[in-house]
Symmetry: C2
């Protein structure tokens, strides 16, 4: 535990979406740092929340099953918190196109309600918001830095863009303190592997372990990947560094790879196999081509950097699901 | 009536916010062009709608009093429309900070509902959306072109940004046709002059005519102003030019002036007077400094350009309110 991490000991910390993939990884880390942790999650079946994700720390966290759209519960739950990791969200791009109003309620309206509640009931709290690289849309140039225009290509991207900006605005106007991190493709233990709702990598891992071929759409697209422990470390770094207040930062991975390279790494580690397919038309309409981020701004302000190479992260994820796959199906 | 304007004859045209300042000016023009016009307006007291605005054309338009948030009515009303000018919105920046959720319901959720309705029930319609320069926030450089980052400084700006992007997205993904115009400070007959809710220029005009001093906050800020007939001409030009589909364009005025210069022009035309005041703190937090736009992209695609100089536009506005002021108080 380094000096900055000691800050979390005894702090009251709320994680929205706390039973989800990243939220639960964060919860495990916060428990290790002796924080007093409250997790909120709605456990909507199609999203990433799963009680299995907090196995081993059930007795060291408080769990409150509730929806971010439930303004009154939220008002009660945020009182007295020192810090809020605001990770709850609808994250499926296809679901956002099928049910755009539900996406708006969760990713826009509930975020604005949370901030209004904090402004009136707990203005001293710091908020770290999980934003997404999806808001950039199809890049004009690579790597994408924070000066790049935001041109979201799906309803989810538009709503996450608005959700991010509410945080920045409330920081600037009301002196709440808020930071947004634009996460890139995050992967690792506890990710949703049941289907491709949140990320293709989840279903790849599942199929590789089940001995089924997984599908690579296209294959030449370049991407960066963030191992979940690295993303968690970034969330913690944002929480303790006041210079991040009022700003939105990219996160990137340790390297840039093509989807085919990722597939090859996964095959090497799992013994699975894949087939390359043409892009389905309904995905093509919202595809963004190559994407990878420049995250120098966040690195230089906080000293954070990704530590887990992709091949190693994939091995850890496979190890986890070799043991726990049935609990995620 | 030029060739492009002949297109409107006989067309079924819906104007949301049709009893408001710009919507009603557009309605007058559309009636002159022999369009079949339906106006929707909720006549919310604090907004810009006013039945006086359609005096003289009441018998040549259909008026439907309803709110954009009323999804079911909207679904019925948009059927069979050839063209939709989507001008309904909450436009007060201060109101958006006082009632952020109401602003979100109108400027985000209702816009998304409209587009969903069109997608399912009238995908052949073209939509022209009234966006705003407010979404740029404080400029990095001047004049501001469409490559400038969007960094809204109030809830209204964030929600209008999302509302604009829903339109662009539905154009790109679902082949609805939609264009967004980022209007700058629009002024002229039928603008709200009761208070400063929508623009400072309204209350200036009222006070100048009432013989009261009006307040200029700061005074050195540079702005561009769009006379309402020019804004209407731009909306029509966007409607008939297919090359504008799927894009958002700046509009600018005929010149760039300081607020003090505008005040001087208004005094010269009205015989009124003004006092210069320090910026009130609650406005300072969301002030953007100088702003004026580069609108070459829209000009070169459509041939549109502003035709009414600011001094002339102010005279026309004053003439209108000398006759009609009581109906706007």
């Amino acid at each position: 535990m380094n000096g900055k991490e000691q800050w979390f000991a005894g702090k009251r910390v709320l994680v929205t979406g706390g039973l989800g993939f990243i939220g639960s990884a964060l919860a495990h880390r916060l428990v290790a740092l002796d924080a007093k942790v409250l997790l909120i999650d709605s456990l909507i079946a199609e999203y990433g929340g799963n009680l299995v994700n907090v196995r081993g720390i059930e007795d060291r966290v408080r769990i409150n099953i509730s929806d971010m759209r439930d303004v009154h519960s939220l008002r009660f739950l945020v009182r007295d918190m020192d810090l809020i990791f605001n990770l709850a969200g609808q994250t499926s791009h296809l679901d956002s196109m099928r049910e755009p109003i539900a996406d708006l309620e969760i990713n826009c309206a509930a975020q604005l309600s949370l901030l209004e509640t904090l402004r009136h009931n707990n203005p001293a709290a710091k908020v770290v918001f999980a934003s997404t690289r999806q808001i950039y849309g199809k890049p004009d140039y690579l790597p994408v830095d924070e000066k790049h225009l935001l041109r979201p290509t799906d309803v989810n991207g538009i709503n996450k863009m608005a959700g991010e900006w509410y945080h920045i605005l409330y920081n600037n106007v009301y002196k709440l303190r808020a930071t947004a991190l634009r996460l890139t493709n995050t992967y690792g233990p506890r990710m949703r592997v049941k289907d491709a709702r949140q990320t293709f990598l989840g279903i790849w891992i599942r199929l590789a372990l089940e001995g089924q071929p997984f599908e690579v759409w296209g294959g030449d697209q370049l991407r960066d990947f963030s191992y979940v422990d690295d993303a968690v470390a970034a969330l913690l770094a944002a929480a303790v560094e006041p210079l991040t207040d009022g700003r939105a930062f990219n996160l990137s991975g340790d390297s840039v790879v093509s989807l085919r390279q990722v597939a090859d790494m996964l095959v090497a580690a799992s013994g699975g196999r894949y087939v390359v397919r043409e892009f389905p038309p309904e995905r093509k309409a919202i595809d963004i081509g190559d994407y990878y981020a420049d995250d120098q701004a966040f690195r230089s302000l906080t000293g954070w950097r990704p530590k887990v190479p992709l091949a190693e992260g994939l091995r850890r994820a496979l190890d986890y699901y070799r043991e726990h796959l049935p609990a995620y199906l």
